[in-house]
């Protein structure tokens, strides 16, 4: 469904060029949840922006259903790393979620339904009339997720969405993502630098090397499909997988 | 480098447009002479002593007025900000006097001083005073209350508090006020000359216009624009210089 083939990106600016990604190749099947981990600065955001069609690649290509991605595809949603900045501060939570639907010309009754549902599903039914800056960081992040969900995307991209929230909120949001992913059967590419999170969420984990970046390993996570914070994380297999990914990242750094 | 090139392109384009429009008869050349003629007139004007004398007058009014206004405003601002209760007592008056457009004082200036430096100064000082005062008040209010309490608990005198705490904190604000006031002062200096006839660039423009010397009017307006740019650049540089040590500026440069 989503194919990334020999993707490379070098940032060119006068007097300086940064090779952020050397060459990345991997696929994401329809309905799959794939996590990408890698050290900070290895080009995870770059990868995601290239997949989203926001950034032209220097080489290689990204294909969605066999069609090369050249601009943002219509049924793709992104939750940005800087979630606070991705919400329109002059709009209420409701308006933020509704805006993309208006642009898609979704009829008003259906729009209302989608917005209500998605806000309910992230537990923000009551905050609809608030402005983003009246919410906590974790709540803002959930608004961004609700907006993506309401858009009814085929593919959802998430860039370290939980980097800036506390541990408890983070656990809740992780389970929220798992639930939404299962309910909506949306293909998800989830970027993180947290190994535990990657192993806990993913059906596969792609380990990136540090810059210039290549795929170090494409690891199948053979944990039972039902996951929960305490049970899954205390499985011996979870520990093994985590240790494995950890050692690969250490190797990547060295 | 690219930016510079583009900028030059823009300026060249403007000149080309101003040259072509009257030559092609798109506008009446009597009202908009071709750019080359304006520049030629400008070059001619620059060799006359009259223009330089006028410029000297304008800049004198500007500088003296700005200095007076800033001095008064800083003194008033610090006193209002430091003496307890004064801020609240003066705020309604400040809020009322500040928006009075300084040109409202034109008739008064004419009456009191006639067409002379005094008129220019009255308008310039009134207009720039508020710009600086407001900023100083912001600045004094920005003094960290903890730092203020610390200074008091160590028994610093009022004067040392102003010198070592209030003044350094408000300096960036003072400079902002000065930057705004410098532009306003230039506008008002030229206005006084133009309307009241105090000697200077504005009066020259007025004379050129009433004698129908259209290219000269344009040339003098160009001079006014160049001086305006000069004034803006000069205060920016001064601001940088004075505040080189200040974190606010360091951030701005880094960011």
């Amino acid at each position: 469904m989503l194919e990334i083939a020999q993707l490379s990106k070098t940032y060119e600016s006068p007097g300086r060029s940064v090779e952020a990604i050397r060459s990345l190749t991997f696929d994401v099947a329809a309905g799959e949840l794939v996590c990408v981990v890698g050290p900070s600065g290895c080009g995870k955001t770059t990868l995601l922006r290239a997949v989203a069609g926001l950034l032209p690649a220097s080489g290689g290509e990204v294909r969605l259903d066999g069609v090369p991605v050249t601009g943002p595809p219509p049924r793709m949603a992104v939750v940005f790393q800087e979630y606070g900045r991705s919400l329109f501060p002059w709009m209420t939570v409701w308006q933020n979620v509704e805006l993309p639907l208006k642009e898609k010309k979704v009829p008003a009754p259906r729009r209302r339904e989608l917005v209500t549902q998605s806000l309910e599903s992230v537990g923000l039914g009551d905050a609809a009339r608030a402005h983003p800056w009246q919410l906590s960081g974790g709540m803002q992040q959930r608004v961004a997720i609700a907006r993506a969900v309401a858009y009814e995307p085929q593919v959802m991209l998430m860039d370290e969405p939980f980097a800036a929230v506390d541990a408890q909120t983070r656990a809740d949001l992780e389970d929220l993502i798992l639930r939404l992913w299962r309910d909506l059967e949306v293909t998800t590419l989830f970027v993180t630098h947290d190994i535990d999170e990657a192993v806990y969420l993913g059906q596969r984990v792609i380990v990136l090397s540090s810059s210039p970046t290549v795929v170090m390993e494409d690891l199948k996570i053979d944990l039972p499909p039902e996951r929960d914070q305490l049970g899954t994380r205390s499985l011996p297999r979870f520990g093994e997988l985590r240790g494995h990914v950890y050692s690969r990242i250490q190797a990547a750094r060295g | 480098m690219r930016r510079l090139l583009h900028g030059l392109l823009g300026l060249t384009g403007l000149l080309a447009l101003l040259e072509a429009a009257p030559r092609l008869g798109l506008v009446d050349a009597r009202f908009l002479p071709p750019a080359s003629e304006i520049l030629r007139t400008l070059a001619g004007e620059l060799t006359t002593a009259g223009l330089w004398l006028a410029l000297g007058e304008t800049m004198r009014g500007w500088a003296v007025g700005l200095a007076l206004a800033s001095g008064l405003a800083v003194a008033a601002g610090v006193v209002i900000g430091v003496v307890p209760g004064l801020r609240a007592a003066t705020s309604s008056t400040v809020e009322f006097l500040r928006p009075i457009p300084s040109v409202a004082l034109v008739p008064l200036a004419t009456l009191l001083f006639g067409p002379s430096l005094g008129s220019t100064l009255l308008l310039v000082v009134y207009a720039s005073f508020w710009q600086v005062l407001i900023q100083v008040l912001y600045g004094v209010a920005a003094v960290d209350p903890v730092a203020h309490d610390t200074a008091r608990s160590y028994g610093l005198s009022a004067w040392s508090r102003v010198r070592h705490l209030v003044w350094p904190t408000s300096l960036p604000y003072v400079m902002t006020g000065l930057r705004l006031a410098a532009a306003v002062a230039f506008i008002l200096a030229v206005t006084a000359e133009l309307v009241i006839g105090s000697p200077g660039l504005g009066a020259e423009i007025q004379v050129a216009q009433s004698s129908g010397a259209v290219p000269t009017v344009y040339a003098l307006i160009v001079v006014a624009g160049l001086i305006g740019i000069g004034v803006n650049t000069a205060v920016r540089l001064l601001e940088r210089r004075v505040l080189a040590w200040h974190p606010a500026v360091r951030e701005e440069v880094a960011g």
């Binding site: 992104v78 642009e103 | 009075i100 409202a104 008064l108 506008i187 206005t191 216009q209 003098l220 004034v231």
Partner: protein, 249 residues
Amino acid sequence: MKAVRLLGLPVLLVLLWWAVSGGSFYLPSPDRVAVAFAETWFSDRLTGDVLPSVGRLLAGYALAALLGGWLGVPIGLSPRLRATLEPVLEFFRAIPPPVLVPLIMLLAGIDTPMKVLVIVSGCVWPVLLNTVEGVRALDEVLADTCRMYGIRGWPRVRGFVLRGASPQIMAGLRQALSIGIILMVISEMFASSSGLGFTIVLFQRQFQIAEMWSGILLLGLLGLGLSLLFRRLERWVLSWYYGSGAARA
């Protein structure tokens, strides 16, 4: 207590005015100015001079706001256009607006169009340059969000570009307002036969000193009124901005 704080100093100043004005030719006492104010301005001068002046001011200001915003958006959005036009715009901004009055009189005569044009020519630069600056500094993450969710064209300009740049645009409009008042007065001091600026100069020429002061007072009240109105507008348009605390940063 609050009333004392609010009115204490003004009352004191008026009393001081009273005290020093005794017998002075240039400074009539406050009561004489007050009487002159009522007699002068609550008459057909209100409809003949004051309202037309204010009307021209508002017309010129509104035109300048539209023009500045309308040109500022494309310039701010295109780095190349911006680099090309920036020096030209900086130059025009640096020209003190009043010097354009004699020029515009040459081009547009001495009637209402000239006066409105003068106001437009002075007010447009702060609006334009601030709009350019505001649009340039729009948040990239929000820009990406728009691209991702297919928000483009006019909805993008209205919902994202103009709203995101509105704090700077409002700052430009505030500067433009004070320039507009100055130009309204000046344009009427030249070769005019009606209007607020003309009337005040006329009083001065005829040594009607109390009337002249009442005119100064009226201009002050006008400036104050407009700036209060503007502050209302600003609070309303930028409520999200003050709320988010971005204004303090």
